[in-house]
């Protein structure tokens, strides 16, 4: 029997609005379609009416989870247009915040994945550990989300010696629970049964459809902007890019768990070698020179790109934001095919979607 099963756009199981249409034969999904655009906020248009500092505040609101990534990428664009050299200490603080953001984002996703799978004790355990990262972020920036750590030409808040030691302690404390979480993720029967062989995205299709971030790396695509096109001070740190080629939801769990170790490694290196000196170039409101720049940042969900066009005034002529979910969401219908309706929620969630981010 053929059915069309609609999910969303507003549905109790969805944190954000997306409309998926599943074309099924009995329990099996034969085809699917995804519709977005329910949260379009016109952020790019709003940016053309704001100066660079106001735009930092605005682009942080594109996403609650990866807010720092947006401010970081936008600032890089303006600095590239203006030829601004960011002080080393400011660059390090930006990277530390970015990696803490990746940690809390991956912990959040791992928790949600376990919740969807039905492993709620694991969900609560992971989110409990995530609080350690959130506390550090709050201490560093004053906020749990929308950190406002970036300004044009550097960082807005310094990390003093006490805080530096506290973050290093927190990184150390995180390792044991992360080991436990990774071990459970790799060995638990429930997780394996719900995720192995589910939502397949073969390597060739991941490249063809333009998947990015942990989603692509779980399909055997070895990409990471931090390594392939180093920016800020990422070339000064040693880290691995975990790549798994089983191409299923299980691989996406593994990649994200392993990436947490690498983020901790980067944070530790940055804090141990935190350079002395200023964190920014002062508070003067910058004009955006005539010119354009496209900058990329490896956000928690994958490659984030901003285009900024300046016309020599205080405001932006054009800001274009393209988030990882813009690239990863179109892979969802492909992954849903030949899976059961019961797995649809998990497969959609496996890209770590952010539809508010996508819609802007």
């Amino acid at each position: 029997m053929s059915y069309i099963v609609p999910i969303g756009p507003y549905h109790p199981a969805l944190e954000e609005p997306i409309h998926a249409k599943l074309y099924t034969e009995g329990e099996i999904i034969k085809d699917a379609e995804c519709f977005v655009g329910y949260n379009h906020r016109g952020i790019e248009k709003l940016a053309t009416e704001r100066n660079a500092i106001q735009t930092l505040v605005l682009v942080e609101r594109v996403c609650g989870i990866c807010s720092h990534s947006h401010a970081f990428t936008y600032a890089m664009c303006v600095e590239a247009i203006n030829g601004t050299e960011v002080p080393k200490r400011g660059q390090y603080i930006r990277v530390i915040t970015a990696e803490l953001e990746r940690l809390h984002s991956h912990f959040l996703w791992l928790g949600i994945a376990c919740h969807i799978i039905g492993h709620d004790s694991m969900f609560m355990h992971i989110w409990d550990e995530r609080e350690l990262v959130m506390d550090i972020l709050e201490k560093m920036t004053g906020n749990r989300v929308n950190y406002a750590m970036v300004t044009i030409g550097g960082a807005r808040r310094d990390i003093d010696d006490d805080l530096r030691r506290e973050i290093l302690d927190a990184c150390q404390k995180l390792k044991a629970p992360l080991d436990r979480i990774t071990e459970i993720a790799l060995t638990d029967k429930t997780i394996a049964m719900r995720t192995k062989g589910v939502g397949l995205l073969p390597t060739a299709d991941a490249i063809r459809l333009g998947a990015v971030g942990p989603h692509a790396r779980a399909s055997g695509v070895d990409i990471d902007v931090r390594r392939d096109s180093p920016y800020s001070c990422y070339d000064e740190f040693e880290f691995k890019v975990p790549v798994v080629d089983s191409c299923d939801v299980f691989a996406r769990v593994v990649v994200r768990a392993l990436e947490c170790y690498e983020s901790i490694k980067i944070i530790q290196q940055a804090l141990e070698n935190l350079p002395a000196g200023p964190i920014n170039l002062g508070t003067k409101l910058p004009k955006i020179k005539e010119g354009m720049a496209v900058c990329r940042h490896e956000a928690p969900r994958g490659q984030l790109s901003h285009l900024v066009v300046g016309n020599g005034s205080l405001t932006n002529h054009r800001v274009s934001v393209h988030v990882p979910s813009f690239k990863n969401t179109p892979t969802v219908p492909f992954m849903l095919r030949n899976n059961t309706v019961a797995d649809a929620g998990l497969i959609i969630a496996s890209i770590d979607p952010c539809f508010s981010c996508l819609d802007r």
Binding site: G37, E44, L209, S229, R296, P330
Partner: protein, 132 residues
């Protein structure tokens, strides 16, 4: 700092470049569009030729070939977005459904977000009306 290389091309070169990039497994970072100082539309195809972004620009064209057959949804979503915001037509692109904007905004022939009244003008108009 990431390097960004601008290359101006004609619209006939869009597809051959996309084919070459696809053969070399180069990622399409994004297709961007904006109105330049002269009011002409500047569309760019940005490829990650690591560590550089090679950005191929076509200026002043409102009818462009789609590279959807080469880059699939990595290109078609960006093309659909540009169609909605700027009214550019991509030959061969399925535009039967909107991507971001509400269906009623499509009545403006794709001239959506970027073509609407600038906010400052809108605020001025609302203030005047409120004054009445």
């Amino acid at each position: 700092m990431q390097e960004y290389k601008r290359i101006d091309i004609s619209k006939d070169q869009i597809v051959p470049i996309a084919e070459r990039m696809r053969r070399q497994n180069v990622y399409l970072v994004m297709i961007h569009a904006f109105l330049n100082k002269e009011g002409l539309l500047d569309v760019s195809w940005d490829y990650a030729v690591e560590p550089v972004i090679e950005s191929y620009h076509v200026v002043g064209e409102m009818l462009l070939p789609s590279i959807g057959e080469i880059y699939d949804t990595a290109a078609t979503w960006a093309e659909r977005e540009i169609n909605e915001l700027f009214g550019v037509e991509f030959e061969g692109l399925d535009m039967s459904q909107r991507l971001f904007l509400p269906e009623d905004l499509l009545e403006t022939q794709g001239r959506g977000q970027i073509m609407v009244t600038p906010l400052s003008e809108l605020v001025e108009k609302n203030t005047k009306e409120a004054g009445k």
